[in-house]
């Protein structure tokens, strides 16, 4: 027994007092939309009277493009796509939560770790089917009748964003990307993102939007500082780098 415990403690101590750990830095920034913003149309919820009843005060708008003040862009997934050392990053014990409320998925875009639990909630009190269409991971399609309030699943491979949909309510859509590292962030209504805890170094970061595609940037992170990076999307794709 002893000879199992002892090395483990020794390793722990060694890590705790290990010299030469640089203090980590962050990448923060804002994503904006340039040009005249297309108007998002209200969704016809007529396929399900219960859904209509949930949105009598305000129509549910399409979430294909969600803009905030000053054309800030929500639902953009920003992640580090190059420059990371190969290693196993500790897995958060908290699940990522995707909820189906008001016949709509929230959040609209999620990032999750390989092996991390995805918890899907159904507070709507009606039947949804949670149907993902990944290419590398195993597709999921599970019915959630009104009494099934939550279900859990995990992904075992990293993967670019793929859709979640509900076949009963065809407008319901969410996007999910699976990472083998923790360095990703989805912009909120104010268009900002924050990727934290990066070792100093040079990184490539990529911003992804479901319709407008990808933009990349290179960022240098210095010790204990916030490196700033911004992205601008427009309806015309950027000229290809070649």
């Amino acid at each position: 027994m002893c000879n199992v415990h002892f090395p483990a403690i020794a390793l722990g101590l060694a890590l705790l007092f290990a010299p030469g750990f640089a203090e980590a830095g962050n990448i923060t920034g804002k994503v904006t939309f340039e040009g005249p913003a297309p108007e998002m149309k209200p969704i016809a919820l007529s396929a399900d009277a219960s859904c209509v009843a949930m949105h009598t005060d305000k129509p549910l708008l399409s979430e294909v493009l969600v803009l905030g003040e000053g054309q800030s862009m929500a639902n953009v997934l920003v992640s580090v796509t190059a420059g990371l050392p190969e290693k196993d990053y500790p897995l958060p014990s908290e699940p990522v939560v995707l909820t189906q409320e008001g016949c709509r998925y929230a959040p609209h875009v999620i990032g999750i770790r390989v092996g991390q639990t995805l918890r899907v909630l159904n507070p709507d009190g009606l039947l949804h089917n949670v149907h993902s269409a990944p290419k590398s991971n195993t597709p999921l399609n599970k019915a959630m009748p009104k009494d099934l309030l939550e279900l859990e699943t995990v992904f075992d491979k990293q993967e670019e964003p793929f859709p979640f949909k509900c076949d009963i309510h065809p407008w319901m859509q969410a996007w999910c990307a699976v990472f083998d590292h923790p360095y990703f962030s989805v912009t909120g209504a104010d268009g900002t993102f924050a990727i934290t805890g990066l070792d100093p170094g040079d990184y490539e970061i990529t911003a992804w939007h479901e319709r407008l595609g990808k933009r990349t940037a290179t960022v240098t992170v210095a010790e204990a500082t916030d490196a700033n990076a911004g992205f601008v999307f427009s309806k015309t794709p950027p000229a290809s780098p070649k």
Partner: protein
């Protein structure tokens, strides 16, 4: 006659399609608990059979891209991707038994045909071959070991005993259905919930009308239970694992009760025998009284481009007088009285395909060593095709060109869209086919005698050998067509039919009246024609 073949005949006789007791599947359609293991010999046999019986639709390599694939909806499965629908495990993969059942009974609701012409051993060969096409990991030994449900939600899905539906349990089942299924299948199960749905390849599909009795997997309690719990991968039909156990067992029984055994049996064609009765007088016309003395045989016809509402049966009769044989086809087409240009055009046709072989070649067009003889009737507008074609093109610029039946490429393999002039049969684009047309507006005479020995080999018999008389008639939503030819033929490009002989026979019908475009033909599987001595 092999044993299996005799068994199939005995089955067909003992239980005409409507008398069958479904649920009680003929034992060689549903697999035994322990399938034969894959041996190199069995695998090789499977490969040969695949090339013969399956490649036309599924493609030589199984990628779902065979020459007939474009005609089909739903699309033939890409067996390399291995995105299977009929699955019985928690991992949503098919067991060997699932594949065996699919290959044996086909997939009603699609063009995937059953294979009653093959022995159980041959079908196991196909199971092993199909598995070998996909590089995916198969559920280790689940199929092979035949049962024992693994602990937890792994491996084969264990099925509880069949529950009895009492007043009380039926109400519970109805409630479960309302909560868990009705949003898609509709409150009455007619498939009228959310309808605009798509499969994983983006093709439209819709929740099944459960009152029709169309089951792609076996319509047994055990199998339907697994369909409910595992869902149907690649389609919107979700896993309802929330119901697993007693609830899904109730649902399976409830759902099966939405259709009758007869309805379900009608979608599962079996090999049948058509007797050509001997008589002194044989009918020469669809209305001839003589037909009444020939027992009719009702056969399932499957539209290659599936529609729930297309004609699904053709009634056939046959008689001979020792020198001539007459064969009659009758099918209904309720939607005929639409716009004249669509209802009356050249798309109406019917064909009989025969092989002298009781182990016939691929249904599509025969094979090099196993020719087929095709008799084809077309309604009279075909004669003036060129004018009619232009009218139609103006009215429907994107009309599916395969609506113009091309016997040169078999009923299964018709010309692609916009390929009309090059790929359509010359009989349709020249006046050649006009020869037999009579001017009586209700009675038409027009038939071709054609031969094939595999893809692209089909040709019309020389003009001097063309000796088929055919008369078609359309009346109150019913087509009837009578073919007549002398039994014997000395020409080696024509089938010689001796009294007392048995040949293989199949039928195809082009339903021209539907407003829709593509793949308007429906086909039967191979049956047999027994000519009374």
């Amino acid at each position: 006659m092999t044993r299996r073949y005799r068994a199939a005949c005995a089955y067909a006789l003992a239980c005409g399609i409507f008398l069958c007791i479904p649920g009680a599947y003929p034992e060689d359609l549903l697999p035994p608990a322990a399938p034969p293991p894959s041996t190199p010999e069995l695998l090789e046999r499977g490969g040969l059979l695949f090339a013969k019986e399956c490649a036309a639709c599924h493609g030589a390599e199984g990628r779902g891209d065979g020459p007939a694939a474009y005609l089909l909806y739903p699309k033939p499965r890409n067996l390399v991707d291995g995105d299977f629908r009929i699955v019985s495990t928690w991992e949503r993969l098919p067991t060997d038994q699932d594949l065996f059942a699919t290959i044996s009974r086909g997939m009603p609701g699609s063009a995937m045909p059953p294979t009653p012409q093959l022995s159980a051993e041959d079908r196991w060969g196909l199971v092993h071959y199909v598995k070998s096409l996909s590089p995916r990991a198969w559920p280790g030994g689940i199929g092979a070991s035949g049962a024992a449900a693994a602990a937890g939600n792994q491996g084969l899905i264990a099925v509880p005993p069949v529950p009895e539906l009492t007043q009380e349990t039926r109400e519970r089942a109805a409630k479960l259905f309302a909560d868990g299924c009705a949003a898609c299948h509709g409150t009455t199960g007619r498939g009228d919930g959310q309808q605009a749905q798509f499969d994983s390849d983006g093709f439209p599909t819709r929740p099944r009308d459960l009152t029709k009795g169309i089951y792609k997997g076996p319509a047994t309690h055990e199998s339907v239970y697994r369909r409910i719990v595992a869902g149907i991968p690649g389609t919107p039909m979700p896993m309802s694992d929330w119901a697993s156990g007693e609830q899904a067992a109730l649902l399976a029984q409830y759902v099966l009760e939405l259709s009758s055994r007869e309805q379900r049996a009608a979608y599962e064609p079996r090999r049948e025998t058509l007797t050509a009765f001997r008589s002194d007088h044989i009918p020469g016309h669809p209305d001839s009284r003589e037909w009444q003395s020939a027992a009719p045989l009702s056969l399932r016809i499957t539209p290659l481009w599936w529609r729930d509402d297309s004609a699904d049966r053709v009634t056939v009769r046959a008689m001979h007088d020792g020198s001539e044989i007459a064969i009659q086809l009758v099918w209904t087409d309720a939607t005929n009285d639409h716009t004249a240009i669509r209802a009356e055009d050249f798309r109406d046709a019917a064909a009989i395909q025969m092989s002298p072989n009781t182990a016939p070649p691929f249904i599509g067009m025969g094979a090099k060593d196993s020719p087929v003889n095709i008799w084809m009737w077309k309604s009279e507008r075909q004669a003036s095709l060129e004018t009619a074609f232009q009218d139609i093109e103006t009215v429907y610029p994107n009309i599916g060109i395969d609506s113009y039946p091309n016997p040169e490429t078999s009923p299964l393999e018709q010309p692609a869209r916009h390929a009309l002039t090059l790929k359509s049969a010359p009989v349709f684009v020249t006046g050649w086919g006009a020869r037999n047309i009579v001017s009586d507006p209700t009675y038409r005479l027009s038939a071709e005698d054609l031969n094939a020995r595999g893809f692209g080999t089909l040709s019309a018999c020389p003009l001097e050998h063309q000796a088929i008389a055919a008369i078609g008639r359309y009346d109150t939503s019913t087509y009837s067509v009578t073919f007549k030819r002398s039994l014997r033929s000395a020409n080696d490009d024509q089938l010689d039919l001796k009294p007392g002989a048995t040949v293989s026979i199949a039928f195809a019908v082009w339903d021209g009246s539907n407003g829709d475009r593509d793949g308007k033909k429906s086909v039967t599987i191979w049956h047999e024609l027994k000519i009374q001595p």
